[in-house]
Subunit: 438 residues, 2 copies
């Protein structure tokens, strides 16, 4: 077991790989598709990868192509991917009564980007309980709201509801309607439930624990406050510009509650990839804003991807400090360590370079125009799943690139670099009040 | 004179503003246009700004709209803008026999991003002499090569030649042909002369001095080596992908010398903005690559803009160091200071944010698609002047934004922030072997 103790990094990658291969294999089974045996290796791998990384990009229609068995595999992959394989592994080990080694604990802390090693086991329990409670509330809410789901019996209705609640909370964006949330676009209540589920899932378990478990709302950690500020700012800016750029399509003629919920949903879905309308009808300027919002993504330790809200917040604070001629990057009267700032910049630049290189080569090989390729690449790397509709039309080369970007995005640029560089999890670094990057 | 000694920054801005206003005024004069009195304030301001910042974006055709007087104003603005107003100011002061104050010297060092205060006066002399020699060689070369320029007499021929040599060396990209270098696209010799003039102008005077004045080729400074490496790498990558993406337009059927020169020119023109063919016929993937190459731009202390080759080199080295798990960013066996690395990241991110915000608002207001707006915004901020043809069609709002971006780009994001923050020029910082950023 020396391997696991000294180099925990590869275990993460191997677990992802194992789940990826298992998922692909299961989706290749004849009874995974409606037409028996019709899934190609690429279709199965892409779909399994998309579900495991909770991205939601698809190359075949989820509802009509995959069978109930296929849908179940996708549901499980989303849940496994969302909760985090390492959390699952620890759970299994705990259930078996095994003493968790320090090296292994450090790994979970690293995978979820967590502060300290102490209390990881407790955290994992809280994570799972919280996830199940929120998903259960989501299932109940959707069961009461979604129209016509009981038409084919209660079992199918319950599966349909569960699938969407899990897909929403884990920010996966998979749907069984064939057109995402378009059928429910006129119901403020349904859109609101999805918005809340996606939002909670995108905050990260550190924030959720502080908000819902320990409930010390007046003394939130530096990390949680930064997450809540940046998330709120993006939600505000995103909603506002969605509203402004959608007036020409008559959004201002809806009831005002629906205007609010509908606009808010468009900003929040940047981490999940559900849509109420085709992305292609959005104004060009809002598409550009969405590319940035997707790139920023969710918060550390959450089900979402992207460079993370705290990373974005840190670089904005750093630029602002520089503009004001200050050497220290200050947040809520605390100084952010130079190392954190540098790390934030490295994450942003590495992700941007990855986006550039991928976009360039996909365009070069596929001969496709700039905007949809950039959109799809950012959507994949940030595990968003919003699409301008080109993913299904890409050649095998393009689909493999998009698939690899989803995997890289889920593992995280920073984690991937750290793992590949073969460094040990740095246990001492995250001890004090510190900002999570990447 | 206390003002100049304690706060030199505003002097730079004021000088630019003064030159900008004077240029605008001169182009507003009735005899500046072919049709007397036909220039609007916006046309005159935009053209003066474009010439002063050596960008080359235009809203009216240079050749048919402006008179010989107008062309002369543009020529002088390009020369003033390229050489740098502060170098000019110092020259004037030296000529008047005034003792240059330390504060003022520091300013020039800052404006040209130079290493040390000692030797600034000598440097300025070298800069001017070098500029004039290179431009003279350019004029002679072009006078021998350009076809049909003597048809309207030697005076007009000489002006035509001088205009293009100055425009090329100062990376301005203004032309009197009405279609840039398209008339000369079949002459390897002419394209080669332009390529060399642009390339030399983009290296920066520190590098030029080491290459041509002190000639210590075997012991080039860290700075010069980084400049030459990054410039070569971009030239190689840019030429290669221009070639690859242009085979469908038959570039591989040209004589091989012409293939080489022609492809090299397309990578080098990223700092000047001359073209041999409309930008719009380029492959989408090459347009994306060009956006990055423009964003990177020229080298510090040169006539060009962008985040600068050394900034790009530094962040690449920093990312590479991080991937390898190293804490030190090492270049040619020297460690780059953390402060330099952080500064490089701040320049990149600030420039990227500026590009994003400008692109977003121009798209929002003008209702134009993503790609040409992004291209034009990057072209303006990096004072490149390549255009997808939308600048002339923008509303006043869009043209003012583009004009302001050119000014910000010429002053430099870093310098502008430093000046606005009201900090003193840091004299002690650049004393030892160090990397120039921004
Ligand atoms: K997603
Ligand atoms: K230019």
């Amino acid at each position: 077991m020396r391997f696991f103790r000294t180099k925990p990094g590869p275990l993460v990658l191997m677990s992802y790989l194992l789940a990826n291969i298992t998922g692909t294999f299961l989706l290749l089974l004849p009874w995974a598709t409606v037409k028996p045996g019709s899934a190609t290796l690429l279709e199965a791998w892409f779909t399994a990868t998309s579900a495991l990384t909770v991205t939601g990009l698809i190359v075949v229609p989820t509802d009509t192509y995959w069978s109930l068995f296929g849908h179940t595999v996708i549901l499980l992959l989303m849940q496994i991917g969302g909760l985090g394989l390492m959390v699952m592994a620890t759970l299994v080990l705990t259930a078996l009564g095994m003493k968790i080694q320090l090296g292994h604990r450090a790994l979970i802390a690293q995978e979820r980007n967590h502060f300290s090693i102490s209390g990881v086991v407790k955290l994992v329990k809280n994570v799972v309980i919280l996830t199940l409670i929120i998903e259960l509330i989501g299932i109940i809410a959707l069961a009461m709201l979604l129209p016509g789901i009981w038409d084919n019996g209660w079992l199918e209705g319950l599966f349909f509801t569960t699938f969407h609640a899990v897909s929403a909370f884990n920010g996966a964006g998979f749907d069984l309607t064939g057109e995402s949330l378009a059928p429910y676009k006129d119901s403020s209540a349904i859109i609101f439930v999805f918005t809340v589920l996606i939002l909670i899932g995108s905050l990260g378990f550190v924030v959720l624990q502080e908000l819902f478990v320990s409930r010390k709302w007046k003394r939130l950690s530096l990390h949680s406050r930064l997450v809540l500020w940046v998330t709120s700012a993006i939600a505000l800016v995103g909603s506002f510009f969605y509203y402004v750029t959608s007036i020409e399509r008559g959004v201002d003629e809806l009831p005002w509650v629906h205007q609010l919920v509908y606009s808010l949903f468009q900003a929040i879905t940047r981490t999940a990839g559900f849509t109420t309308e085709p992305v292609t009808i959005w104004a060009e300027s809002f598409i550009l804003l969405m590319i940035l919002m997707m790139f920023i993504g969710a918060s550390p330790g959450s089900v979402g991807g992207g460079i993370k809200t705290t990373t974005f917040g840190t670089i904005i604070l750093a630029v602002w400090a520089f503009v004001r001629g200050r050497k220290e990057v200050v947040l809520f009267e605390r100084e952010i360590a130079t190392e954190s700032v540098l790390k934030a910049f490295i994450v942003v630049v590495t992700a941007a370079l990855l986006v550039f290189v991928s976009t360039f080569f996909v365009m070069l090989v596929e001969g496709l125009p700039f905007k949809p390729v950039l959109f799809e690449v950012v959507s994949a790397l940030a595990t968003v799943g919003l699409s301008m509709g080109i993913t299904a039309e890409l050649s095998a080369f393009g689909q493999v690139i998009i698939g690899l970007l989803m995997l890289i995005g889920r593992v995280g640029v920073l984690s991937l670099i750290t793992i590949l560089a073969g460094r040990e999890a740095r246990k001492a670094r995250y001890m004090k009040e510190s900002i999570l990057i990447g």
